[in-house]
C-alpha cells in the first residue's frame, strides 16, 4: 500500500471506530452497571416479566401482520409500474419520519372510542383499542411496517420475474405462480423483514405511550421507573430487557441465516 492509501485507511478506521464505540459503548455500560446484581433484581421483578411478555408478544403479532399485509404491497411495488408509484412509496416511508408521539396521536384520531374506526371496533365489536393490547400492536405495526415492506421488496427484486413467467407457461395462474415459485424464494427476505419489524416493535416507546400506556410494555415500564425513581430504579429492568433482546435477536438472526443458507445450497 502507498503512504497515501495507508493514510486514508487509518483515517477511515478511526472514524468508523468512533461511531462503533459510540453505538455500542452505552449499551455495554448498561449491561455492566453496578450493582452487578441488577440482573438478579430484574429477574425477580414480576411486573417487569409481564411487561416483557407484552412487548415480545405484541411485537411478534405486529411483525406477522406487517409481513402478511406487507408482502403483497412489496410485490406490487417490486413488479408493477403504475402512476403514483413514487407517491405510494413515499407514503409507506412516512411513519419513519413522523415523530413517534405524533404517530400515537394520529392513531388515536382514528381508533379512539368515538372516532371513525374506534366506534366500529370498540363500540360495535367490543374490541378495545386504546389502553389495550390491540393498541400496542397497532402502534408497533405503524412504526415497523415500512421496514418490513422495504426488506421484503428487496427480496422480491432478487427473484427474476422470468421465474413467474415460466411457471405461468407451465400451466398455473399468476397467484399460484406467486405461491409456488416467488414465495418460497423470498422466504429469507420475509424472515428478515419479520425480524427487523419485531425488533422495531420492541424498541417502540413514543407512540405506545400515547395510545396504550397500559398494559405497560417493557420500554414504557422502564420509562415509568426512570421518571419515578431515576437511573438506579430503571437500571435493573433496562439491563434485563437489553440482555433478553440481544439474545432473542441473536437467535433469530442465526436461525434466519441457517434457513437462507439451506435454501440457496
Amino acid at each position: 500500500m502507498t503512504a497515501k492509501a495507508w493514510g486514508m485507511t487509518i483515517l477511515f478506521a478511526l472514524l468508523s471506530a468512533f461511531l462503533l464505540a459510540f453505538l455500542v459503548g452505552p449499551l455495554i455500560a448498561v449491561l455492566l452497571a453496578r450493582p452487578h446484581d441488577a440482573f438478579v433484581l430484574g429477574m425477580r421483578d414480576h411486573e417487569l416479566w409481564s411487561a416483557i411478555g407484552v412487548s415480545f408478544g405484541c411485537a411478534a403479532i405486529a411483525a406477522l401482520l406487517g409481513a402478511l399485509f406487507g408482502t403483497p404491497l412489496a410485490y406490487v411495488l417490486a413488479r408493477y409500474s403504475f402512476r403514483g408509484k413514487r407517491l405510494v412509496r413515499a407514503l409507506i416511508n412516512l411513519p419513519l419520519v413522523v415523530p413517534h408521539p405524533i404517530a400515537g396521536i394520529a392513531l388515536l384520531m382514528v381508533f379512539a372510542r368515538h372516532r371513525l374506526l374506534g366506534s366500529i371496533l370498540d363500540g360495535r365489536l367490543g374490541i378495545e383499542i386504546v389502553g389495550a393490547i390491540p393498541g400496542v400492536v397497532m402502534a408497533m405495526l405503524f412504526v415497523s411496517a415500512p421496514l418490513v415492506v422495504r426488506t421484503v421488496e428487496e427480496g422480491i427484486h432478487g427473484v427474476s420475474p422470468r421465474l413467474e413467467q415460466v411457471a405461468e407457461s407451465l400451466g398455473v395462474g399468476p397467484l399460484r405462480a406467486f405461491i409456488h415459485v416467488t414465495l418460497p424464494n423470498i422466504r429469507p427476505a420475509i424472515a428478515a423483514g419479520f425480524i427487523i419489524g419485531f425488533a422495531r416493535g420492541i424498541s417502540e416507546f413514543g407512540s405506545i405511550a400515547v395510545i396504550a400506556y397500559f398494559p405497560r410494555t417493557a420500554p414504557v415500564l422502564i420509562w415509568d421507573r426512570f421518571s419515578s425513581w431515576g437511573l438506579k430504579g430503571a437500571l435493573p429492568a433496562a439491563a434485563l430487557l437489553l440482555a433478553i433482546s440481544l439474545i432473542v435477536f441473536l437467535l433469530l438472526t442465526v436461525l434466519e441465516a441457517r434457513t437462507s443458507r439451506h435454501d440457496t445450497h
Binding site: E168, L170, G171
Partner: protein, 339 residues
C-alpha cells in the same frame, strides 16, 4: 402451425412490426437478429406476457391472442434457463405435471423418460445452483416439454455457453426436433445457430422482419443490404448488369465482371482477388483490414474508392503488406450471380 398476423408493438422510441409470419408444422424456424432488434419483445408477445397494439396469433389454427400463457400450447425456454432455485432438478421438470395434478407415479415415469432423452438422469436430486450450465439448459428443456406441447419456443437457448457445449447442445436440439416432431421457434443473435439448426429463418432488424425463407435461400440470396449485413453474407451488391455484359453498374460507378448469371437487381460477387499491379480489370480500394474466420481462412476487407462499396476478398497465403493502405482488386475472374 404458427401464424402471426399484423403484429405491431410500440414502446417509446421503438416500433416492432408489422410482423406477418407463417411457420409450417415441423419446421425449425430460427428468428435471427442483432440485439435490440425486438426479438425478445416478439417472444414475450408470442408467449403471452406482453400485450401489443395489434396483431393475431394462431397456433395450430386456434386464435390464442387473448389466451393466457398456459393455454397457448407453447413450451417455453428462456435464455438463462430460469430453473426454480428452490426445487430440485426432478421437481423442476415435474412442475407442470404436479400443478396439473398428475399422480406421483405418472410424474416419475414422465420425468425419467425426459431425463433419459436429455441425459441428465444423474442430476435429478441436485438443486439448480449445483449443476452445470449445460445441465441447467437440458433441465429447462425437459421441464418445458413435460406436458406435451406441439410448439417449442426457445429464447436465446445457447447464449453464453462455451464453444464445445454450444456444439453439443446444438446437436441435441436438432435431435430433439427430429425425435419429438416439434415445431420449433428459436430466437437468437447467432448466425452459426441459424445456419446449423434452421430449416427456415427470419431476419429481424430494428423491429422489421426483413426476410423469411428456407435457410439456404436466405443466406444465398439476401433481399437487401440490411439482411446481408445481419447475416454477414459477404459481397452483396445492388446494381444492374451493364449494356456490354461485362460490367456491373452500381449506384456510383461500375465494376468489371468476367461472367454474370441470372437476372435481377441484386447480386453476389465471387472469385475476387487482390492484384499486385493496377490494370484494366482492377479497381483501386482502401484496405480496411484483414481477418481470419473460424475455419482459419484469411480474408481482406476493402472499400472500393470509386463506388464506396465494401467487399471481402478471400486470400491465399499472400497477405497484403502490413502497412499497405491501398490495394488493387482483380475482377478478371469475377463472377456475379444476379437474383
Amino acid at each position: 402451425m404458427i401464424h402471426i398476423e399484423d403484429m405491431r408493438l410500440e414502446v417509446p422510441g421503438f416500433t416492432l412490426g408489422p410482423i406477418n409470419l407463417e411457420i409450417d408444422e415441423g419446421q425449425y424456424f430460427v428468428l435471427c437478429g442483432p440485439s435490440g432488434s425486438g426479438k425478445t419483445s416478439l417472444v414475450e408477445w408470442t408467449a403471452g406476457f406482453r400485450p401489443a397494439q395489434s396483431g393475431r396469433l394462431l397456433v395450430g389454427g386456434t386464435d390464442v391472442t387473448a389466451m393466457r400463457p398456459a393455454e397457448r400450447k407453447l413450451a417455453l425456454v428462456f435464455q438463462d434457463s430460469a430453473l426454480f432455485p428452490h426445487l430440485s432438478v426432478r421437481d423442476n421438470i415435474g412442475f407442470s405435471l404436479r400443478m396439473a395434478k398428475h399422480s406421483p407415479d405418472q410424474i416419475r415415469r414422465r420425468v425419467d423418460e425426459l431425463t433419459e432423452l436429455l441425459r441428465i438422469g444423474h442430476r435429478l436430486d441436485a438443486l439448480p445452483n449445483r449443476i452445470s450450465g449445460g445441465e441447467a439448459r437440458r433441465a429447462a428443456l425437459a421441464r418445458a416439454l413435460a406436458l406435451p406441447k406441439p410448439v417449442l419456443l426457445l429464447d436465446e437457448p445457447l447464449s453464453s455457453v462455451d464453444p464445445a457445449l454450444h456444439r453439443d447442445l446444438r446437436r441435441e436440439l436438432a435431435q430433439l426436433h427430429r425425435h419429438l416432431g416439434l415445431t420449433v421457434i428459436h430466437i437468437t443473435h447467432s448466425i452459426a445457430e441459424a445456419r446449423s439448426l434452421a430449416t427456415e429463418i427470419g431476419v429481424l432488424v430494428s423491429g422489421a422482419l426483413e426476410q423469411t425463407g428456407p435457410t439456404a435461400d436466405v443466406f444465398e440470396r439476401p433481399d437487401n443490404a440490411v439482411v446481408a449485413r445481419a447475416l454477414t453474407v459477404p459481397n452483396f451488391v445492388e446494381g444492374r448488369i451493364g449494356p456490354d455484359g461485362q460490367s456491373l453498374e452500381l449506384e456510383q460507378g461500375s465494376i468489371p465482371i468476367a461472367s454474370g448469371r441470372g437476372e435481377g437487381k441484386r447480386a453476389r460477387l465471387f472469385d475476387l482477388k487482390l492484384a499486385e499491379t493496377a490494370g484494366a480489370l482492377t479497381r483501386d480500394a482502401e484496405l480496411l483490414g484483414t481477418e481470419i474466420d473460424e475455419r482459419g481462412r484469411p480474408s481482406a476487407w476493402v472499400r472500393l474508392r470509386e463506388s464506396g462499396i465494401e467487399l471481402e476478398i478471400e486470400l491465399d497465403e499472400t497477405l497484403p503488406a502490413r502497412d499497405a493502405r491501398s490495394v488493387h482488386i482483380d475482377f478478371s475472374e469475377s463472377r456475379a450471380e444476379f437474383y
